[in-house]
């Protein structure tokens, strides 16, 4: 039928020129019959043929007598306001045409609305003045708060006419007499569609339900992409919870870190890694903040989950370009995670039940409209999976993690807001052979925001945190305990001040670290381990910063400067190495000992950062930035991803602070309706003093770790292309090219890696394509696709073998001279929301996820092992895939209203 409808106008548009007026009159007819019946009567009695579809005319009732009237005029009167056109062919045919677009619009709206579309009639049809307009007005209120809703839109779909409610929730619009599908939408409210039959001017009050799925975040979601387009700083991205939730994740639970990894310029080396590499930087060059508290290891279960509770997160801002001046200490990026403030009106909650974890979040008022709380927790129960394993040892193993987070917010008065957050995460992994592996992050922070005057805003925060891990073995012969920990505190205070076309930012911060570098203790008298205790490191980094965002018409620029001062304090023992020799254990000439509070080493950093934007027109702009960042703490690891046994060390006399320079330039384009945004960015980074590991480095529990490191320079260049679409079909397509290379710069030949020539860094993945699309099939169903492909990361491959003293030796000629196979993976997910009714206190949804749809065994690493045959051994190469197959999962999520 649809084809017929669309074809009709085409066929008859040719005939229209021949149309003639009819003289035929309507015969006598009964009242209350349908139009179909009337037409049949006419055709039987008169010499006229009427083309129409009965489904159009079946529900039109004839209540007035048209006897004796001109047939065409009568039909016009009957069909007025019902989107019909009447055409005549010669003097015997009448064609009833309906604009297919209107039908399409209607059909689409009707199919997309699960709820039954209600019909309301206004006025008396008998009094209808067909063809004229009447007034439709009313007030829009919220069901929950019974307050009026300003800014809600009322839209008549077929006639493409809309209005919005004013400050007191009132709306007023003129509509042609007839039927209209009306859609009412309000931010944070569930949209409502109903059919009105309006014959006379009428008043209608509309009540909207609060949107059960998209909470406060919808506001952010709506602006996030726009915002990044309008932002002066290139490479800043804000992600809302809504966006994070749409990304298919392995265990069906929204994941902050995995969402960040979808952004162009952000890579990860594989499944079991929550660490990520930003624009060719190392994983330790990312500053991860949770309500301003520093998080060192954002990992659960070796990286399968990120340590942030998805329901507790309000939004996430990620900077990979010029990092705003108020953040310091890291070179590559800042991931600023903000937790939600509790609902200050009523108790609400949300949660989820998955195959491996369950989570719950509760929020509510402590003092209505003043003080609110939010608490959230998550815990794993993955042991049952292990118990199902074939292997006896696996059955005896156990893994467990939980995290807890809470926030209390208080609106002291209209100008002062105080909030306190607490966070704790814990992971345990116990093996059948008694080795217990555990790590935890803790963070406490207090944030105080106040509006000093209308154009001046002040933020202060105090935070303290801890990250630690322990490996323990209870087997008497091997009994040991290995502990590592890092404590930190930070105090920060800064001010925003807007003056005409200037926005000044200025502030101070102080960060202190106590690094407990490691202690290995035998825990039984027969243990084969000897005690090793490394010296703790105490350091304080002080920073002062100032920037000014200047708007000059089409041009905006933010010059800024951050000054940082790092001091390593005693008690500290610094070995002094022979300056004529490479830094190693054999070139120690003596030691310098520093007492408590004595400064062992000081570094001073000048960190200028400039970002600029030029608007070419309303739709496009150019952004550029130059920045220099200092990093005083280094993560010492020889695995490619962040693993729980990696340890942070401070800079000292021999381990210099890393200094990163970044230059970036980008072109940004946004279509008129702002539903498509695209960008191209190029960047160049140069990082000095990157610690590279010397050949044969021994990193575990090494006191003077500088002997295992070689100073190197990172040279990173790349380009990012991205295309973002919003709407019912939304998504992002991006391609990143980046080359991340290292070069040692030591004059000692024995320390040089690849003869001081450039080699790719461990996580260098030059080509990276990411595609993510979400399609709202209906209001209740969202289908998502996610595809990721990246060049395999480099490994050092063996080239030859020889025998010396009965020992077989393999030579690896160069570092990182080979690459593991290309990584690619497709994930699908379907979000099914159960139906929602006005008075429901409980809203549920199911997330079905299929991770790694075509079951690709992506290589995590390649390793070599020998097969044996007779006296000979046959070397073989193996690849390890963390995920060996397709991984389906299901999670039930709920919201308590």
């Amino acid at each position: 039928v649809r084809y017929l409808l669309t074809a009709l106008p085409l066929i008859f548009s040719l005939s229209l020129a021949f149309g003639q007026d009819f003289e035929t009159k309507i015969p006598n007819h009964k009242l209350g019959i349908t139009l179909t019946k009337l037409i049949t009567e006419i055709e039987r009695n008169e010499n006229v043929k009427i083309f129409f579809l009965p489904e159009w005319t079946d529900n039109i009732t004839i209540d007035v007598s048209y006897s004796g009237q001109n047939i065409k005029a009568a039909l016009e009167r009957i069909l007025i306001g019902k989107n019909f056109q009447i055409q005549t062919i010669y003097n015997y045919g009448i064609v009833l045409l309906r604009d297919p677009k209107v039908d399409e619009i209607r059909r689409e709206i009707i199919t997309n609305t699960e709820d039954e579309i209600r019909t309301y009639s206004f006025g008396n049809e008998a009094n209808a003045k067909w063809g004229e307009e009447v007034t439709f007005n009313g007030t829009i209120t919220s069901e929950t708060t019974t307050e009026v809703i300003p800014g809600a839109t009322v839209y008549a779909n077929e006639v493409d006419k809309g209005t919005s409610s004013n400050a007191s929730g009132k709306f007023n619009m003129d509509l042609p007499v007839g039927e209209h599908l009306i859609t009412v939408q309000g931010l944070n409210y569930e949209s409502q569609t109903f059919l009105i039959k309006i014959y006379e001017s009428a008043q209608f009050d509309i009540i909207l339900q609060e949107n059960p799925y998209t909470l406060d975040e919808i506001v952010v979601e709506d602006n996030a992409i726009n915002e990044s387009f309008q932002n002066v700083t290139a490479g800043a991205t804000r992600l809302s919870l809504e966006e994070i939730q749409k990304v298919p994740s392995m265990m069906g639970e929204a994941d902050v870190i995995k969402s960040v990894q979808l952004l162009p310029g952000v890579n990860s080396v594989g499944e079991a890694s929550a660490g990520f590499n930003v624009r060719g930087g190392t994983a330790d060059q990312n500053l991860i903040l949770l309500d301003n508290g520093i998080i060192f290891n954002p990992n659960h279960l070796f990286g399968f989950f990120s340590a942030f509770h998805p329901d507790a997160v309000k939004d996430v801002t990620f900077y990979k370009g010029a990092i705003p001046i108020q953040y310091g200490g890291k070179i590559s990026s800042v991931l600023d995670v903000r937790q939600r403030d509790g609902n200050s009106k009523s108790i609400k909650g949300s949660g989820g039940i998955g195959l491996i974890t369950s989570r719950l979040m509760l929020e509510g008022p402590i003092a209505k409209n003043k003080v609110s709380f939010m608490v959230a927790g998550r815990s794993s129960y993955s042991d049952w999976l292990l118990k199902k394993a074939q292997d006896e040892d696996l059955r005896q193993s156990s893994t467990f993690f939980y995290d807890f987070t809470g926030k209390m917010s208080a609106l002291v008065n209209k100008k002062h807001k105080l909030s306190a957050s607490i966070y704790h995460s814990n992971d345990k992994f116990k093996l059948a052979n008694d080795t217990l592996y555990s790590w935890q992050n803790s963070s406490v922070s207090i944030n105080f925001e106040r509006t000093i005057k209308e154009d001046m805003y002040h933020i202060s925060s105090l935070s303290a945190g801890n990250y630690s891990y322990e490996i323990k073995d209870d087997d008497p012969l091997e009994a040991f305990s290995w502990k590592y920990g890092i404590n930190n505190f930070q105090a920060k205070s800064y001010l925003f001040w807007r003056q005409k076309n200037h926005l000044f930012t200025a502030g101070l911060d102080v960060t202190g670290y106590e690094i407990k570098r490691g202690k290995l203790e035998p825990t039984s008298s027969v243990s084969t381990f000897d005690e090793v205790a490394l010296e703790n490191e105490y350091s304080i980094i002080a920073g002062a910063f100032f920037s000014d965002e200047i708007q000059l018409g089409k041009f905006a620029v933010i010059p800024g400067l951050r000054l940082s001062n790092f001091a390593l304090f005693g008690p500290f023992t610094q070995p002094l190495y022979d300056p004529e020799e490479p830094v190693n254990d054999y070139s120690i000439l003596g030691t310098e000992t520093y007492d408590k509070k004595e400064v062992a080493k000081m570094y001073f950093g000048v960190e200028p950062r400039i970002a600029a934007k030029y608007n070419l027109n309303l739709n496009s702009s150019i952004k550029a930035s130059v920045s220099r960042n200092y990093q005083y703490l280094h993560l010492i690891s020889n695995t490619t991803a962040i693993s729980p046994i990696d340890s942070w060390v401070s800079s000292n006399e021999y381990i210099k602070p890393q200094i990163g320079y970044q230059y970036s330039l980008g072109y940004f384009y946004q279509t008129n309706k702002s539903n498509i945004t695209s960008s191209i960015e190029v960047f160049y980074k140069n990082i000095d003093n990157v610690p590279e590991y010397r050949n044969g480095a021994n990193l575990a529990l090494k006191q003077n770790i500088e002997t295992e490191l070689i100073n190197s320079t990172a040279d990173i260049r790349g380009a990012e292309f991205s295309l973002i679409k919003e709407g019912r079909l939304s998504g992002q397509l991006s391609y990143t090219y980046s080359s991340s290379r290292r070069r040692t710069n030591t004059s000692y030949e024995e320390l040089q890696i690849n003869n001081n020539s450039f080699f790719p860094s461990n996580y260098d993945q030059p080509h990276n394509v990411k595609f993510n699309a979400n399609y709202d099939i209906s209001k209740r169903h969202v289908f998502s696709v996610n595809f990721n492909a990246a060049t395999g990361r480099p490994i050092s491959a063996p080239s030859e073998r020889f025998l010396i003293n009965n020992v077989s030796v393999i030579n690896y000629p160069e570092r990182n001279n080979y690459r593991i196979p290309t990584y690619h993976r497709l994930d699908l997910s379907l979000l099914i929301r159960t139906s929602h009714k006005k008075d429901k206190k409980w809203e549920g949804s199911w997330t079905l996820t299929v991770y790694n749809v075509y079951g690709r065994k992506n290589a995590f690493s390649i390793f070599f092992e020998d097969g044996t045959h007779g006296n000979y051994r046959y070397p073989k190469a193996y690849k390890l895939s963390i995920l060996g197959s397709i991984f389906p999962s299901v999670t039930y999520n709920f919201i308590i209203k």
């Binding site: 070796f302 399968f304 054999y586 030859e800 020992v807 030796v809």
Partner: protein
């Protein structure tokens, strides 16, 4: 410690259905480099220098030099060692690729420097760096304990094997830096049943004992055992075992003596050699040790193996191997089997000449 980490990950892998698959890699090949394996010690000579060519990584290999492809052995080279007093010892080629000093020739001394010189048949010349023989402190004691270890078999099924962990404790270090490498040789007796050997004749198994099964060892009236029923297997260490004062190992793990193949049924004799080596040699063996420890999915970055041999004709030519000067102390003992907590696992019944087994001989060792 590595073990801990590796196990954790392995468990995780199984847990999420990960897997290990063999893959084909087309690795850059750069074989056929000259390999030097030589050492001067303070023990009585003759000393040997072996010259060979390196193999491609994926070529089958044996840890026994006698299994080498003859084409990979460097023949007809001129090899000599010069000390810092100007004495030169010429090494004669005894068998292909094997060069030996004369019986009554040079004897290594602590504190003396040695340098190796090689000239190939084609006139290419090579030289080692100077190696000065360090002093040696000797072994203080050894340590035995029961242990069991897990491994993945050919079908990637985890299995376990028990046995004895052997460690050594050197005498107290007294020098500034001391670097040690350790070698061991273990000997045990085995018994096979050559008289039960059969062969297949038209689908029937018929007895086919070798002649030696009915002969006895001549010249020994007290030893009436069959000539090829009882043998002694002497297995050498095939790993890099090192320790140093700087690293602070008071106890060095030597070997895991597996309770398999009859090893612990009777006596097990162990001869341990403590080689005091130079810093350079230590670094060479340290890299090799790291390689051995890193045959795992989560291995640390493998690196280039250093060498102290250079080509005099082409400084960019890659040369492999090491010429070392080391002082040796040794110690021999029978392993204390009382630490074994499980029953000794016998050698499976082997119906053949015991001498065909690897490292096996029917000549009774003098110390036995």
């Amino acid at each position: 410690m590595r073990k801990v980490i590796i196990c954790s990950f392995s468990i995780l892998i199984l847990f999420v259905n990960g897997c290990i698959d063999e893959i084909n890699l087309s690795l850059p090949s750069s074989a056929n480099h000259l390999v030097v394996d030589g050492m001067i010690t303070n023990a009585p000579g003759p000393y040997t220098i072996r010259l060979s060519y390196s193999n491609n990584y994926f070529d089958p290999y044996s840890s026994n030099i006698s299994d080498y492809n003859p084409n990979d052995l460097v023949k007809k080279a001129k090899v000599s060692v010069i000390d810092n007093n100007g004495n030169e010892e010429v090494f004669e080629e005894k068998s292909p690729g094997l060069y030996q000093s004369s019986e009554d020739g040079m004897r290594g001394e602590v504190g003396v420097s040695y340098k190796l010189k090689i000239e190939l048949e084609n006139g290419e010349k090579y030289e080692s760096d100077k190696e000065t023989m360090p002093a040696n402190v000797g072994i203080k004691g050894y340590y035995t304990e029961f242990s069991s270890k897990k491994y993945l078999d050919e079908n990637n099924v985890e299995r376990s094997v028990d046995g004895l962990n052997l460690s050594i404790i050197p005498n107290n270090f007294d020098g500034k830096f001391e670097f040690y490498r350790w070698r061991w040789k273990g000997t045990y007796e085995i018994m096979t049943f050559p008289e039960l050997k059969t062969k297949n004749v038209q689908g029937q198994q018929v007895p086919d004992p070798p002649a030696c099964a009915f002969e006895t060892i001549p010249d020994d009236v007290y030893d009436v055992r069959c000539k090829c029923c009882i043998c002694w297997v002497t297995e050498p260490s095939t790993k890099s075992i090192i320790s140093s004062k700087v690293i602070g190992n008071s106890r060095t793990f030597l070997h895991f003596l597996e309770n398999t193949d009859g090893r612990l049924v009777g006596k097990y004799h162990l001869n341990i050699e403590q080689l005091s080596i130079t810093k350079e040699a230590y670094e060479f063996w340290n890299i090799i040790k790291q390689q051995e420890d890193s045959h795992t999915p989560f291995s640390i970055t493998n690196t280039k193996v250093p060498t102290n041999i250079v080509s005099l004709n082409d400084e960019n030519e890659k040369v492999m191997g090491f010429f070392s000067a080391a002082s040796i102390r040794d110690s021999s003992f029978y392993v204390d089997k009382s630490y074994l907590e499980t029953r000794p696992v016998p050698l499976p019944q082997i119906k053949s000449d015991c001498r065909v087994l690897k490292y096996s001989t029917n000549v009774k060792p003098l110390f036995w």
